[in-house]
Symmetry: C2
Amino acid sequence: MTTVTILGSGIMSTALAWPLSDNGHEVRLVGTHLDRDIIDTIKKTGVHPNLDLKVPEGVRAYQLEEAEEAFEDAEIAMSGVNSFGVHWAGEQFASLLKPGMMVIAVTKGMEADDDGNLRILPEVLAEEVPQELREQVSWSAITGPAIAGEVAVRHDTCVVFAGRDADVLEKLAATFRTDHYHIWTSMDFIGAEVCAAVKNCYAFGGGFMDGLLDKEGKSEAKYRRYNYGAALFGQATRELGQWMELLGGDPDTSNGLPGVGDMFVTTMGGRNVKAGRFAGAGVPFSEVQNERMKDVTLEGVAAIRVIGGALEKLTERGVVPAEEFPLMRHLYDVVEKDEPLNMPWETFFGGEPQKQKQERV
Amino acid sequence: MTTVTILGSGIMSTALAWPLSDNGHEVRLVGTHLDRDIIDTIKKTGVHPNLDLKVPEGVRAYQLEEAEEAFEDAEIAMSGVNSFGVHWAGEQFASLLKPGMMVIAVTKGMEADDDGNLRILPEVLAEEVPQELREQVSWSAITGPAIAGEVAVRHDTCVVFAGRDADVLEKLAATFRTDHYHIWTSMDFIGAEVCAAVKNCYAFGGGFMDGLLDKEGKSEAKYRRYNYGAALFGQATRELGQWMELLGGDPDTSNGLPGVGDMFVTTMGGRNVKAGRFAGAGVPFSEVQNERMKDVTLEGVAAIRVIGGALEKLTERGVVPAEEFPLMRHLYDVVEKDEPLNMPWETFFGGEPQKQKQERV
């Protein structure tokens, strides 16, 4: 039996309590300062209010002030916060981790510095931990297509545990793996994490299909906009591959579960797609953010701001040619600059040949 | 103005009358012997009954016996039949084509010989035409994600015209291209056509998600099976790449519009996905074919039979290792051998590491 302590009681990290409990492991769920009500509810009723499910027998819930007790003797420490909480989680880990612990993160996103250099979040998380301790624990992450509730109700799910130590990854995988929660391991830590962040950006575009129909008063029309969505999906797949090239990932990662697989599932729905639908319907994005979806956490949108902003800087610096990543650039223009949706088709797939010629004439 | 004559008045070939008419070209639509009612209806009312839309002004409909007149002076000849009609269409072309015509096909599928050697359909089509004439016309095809009705109602669509002659492809693209029908060209004829056929097989699996929920009485449940579908999509993308390697296509093709793009749109619905849903719900496939969906043309299923059957022979001959294409093999077992759906997850993505070890013990 392994003890797994989870910091952050969002739906994704909590859902992992099911495969862990099914394998007979002890799960300790620690809420952040934002999770106070969730932990209270679990303590009182056993139900995670956002998952709307009773957590498995034996899962113990802790408020943040009980964190030290929860991390005592844990072999695995999970960071279950979202991308906005990574620095905070790292600060907590600085005092909670013990040498030998295996850290695994579910957060999806990236950070950029002022020059547009992008970093994966497990690095950001680790940097908050003093160097000596940082090197005495291992750092890994979970990537791939996993809607939290589906994991919790034991619907088949295939994920990739990524990191830099094959033995650690196999140990972690053996701890989490069940007949429904299928796990592959990958040493392409950069590639897997970049996919996790970038696919969130492209999935925002998954809302455009229905949004365009809304705008045209065709919400119930027989003929949808799947061709449009499929073209975006194709261009997004191409760009995922270009991100691998730029940041040092493996194309098998972008063409597998962490890339196209996760992009597929994220495109199927959720808050990010809902925000994209408003954009597709012609609502200026500032209005989506400040009115229509006020107070809603939009990680995909946040990722577009970070990654699209970095892209502009990388292009200014001559690192990335201006004609690459046209879809990401347009998503950035829509989200950050309030530009109307106007898909630059002629720039996709290396450029539509005749169109380019016509425009040159 | 160019004259384009289309043999076969199915929804896809007919939908292309819209971009052609928008560009001022003359479109002549010739029905096959199976299309008699469609042509009659268009002649009488202007409406294509399966598209449920009035065809553009100026499109002229012809019964098969008027084909010679329709092909007179045509610069472009389109094969608009489905995969079951390719030999027949080739036989018609043998007497209808004239030297210098540009042939373009929309059919999606492949053919295999007794040894499992697979061939793309434009080759099958061309072989029915006497060699001298065959070499005096050009052969190209349209691939990529295009639901017919969406093309007809001028929803943005991105496709790839593939063939072996760049000049011909550019001429064809310039004839069809509009502000809504976006066209790239590709000399990867094999890759594009293989994707067109193979993605139809994998899209059949797009029905499993809902089928499994039907089986479990969870058709209306909050938590769906998107993780399952996303995992299949990831493995299918991997296998698309392996098909490119095996048959000589470019990975950019499988990772672009003809591959993942078209697989995305085909997974979103249609008869093929409906058949997959029955299979997901546990209905033996013989019953789906002979009762539930009797008399329904299922091109994806036909493609699974051809390609899955060829795969067995290629494996017997030692051309393809037995551990490759596990998803295609399972689809074949379900469709051809009436086996129950039982996804071999542990064989996906090169094999789930620990699972394989456990099974070896």
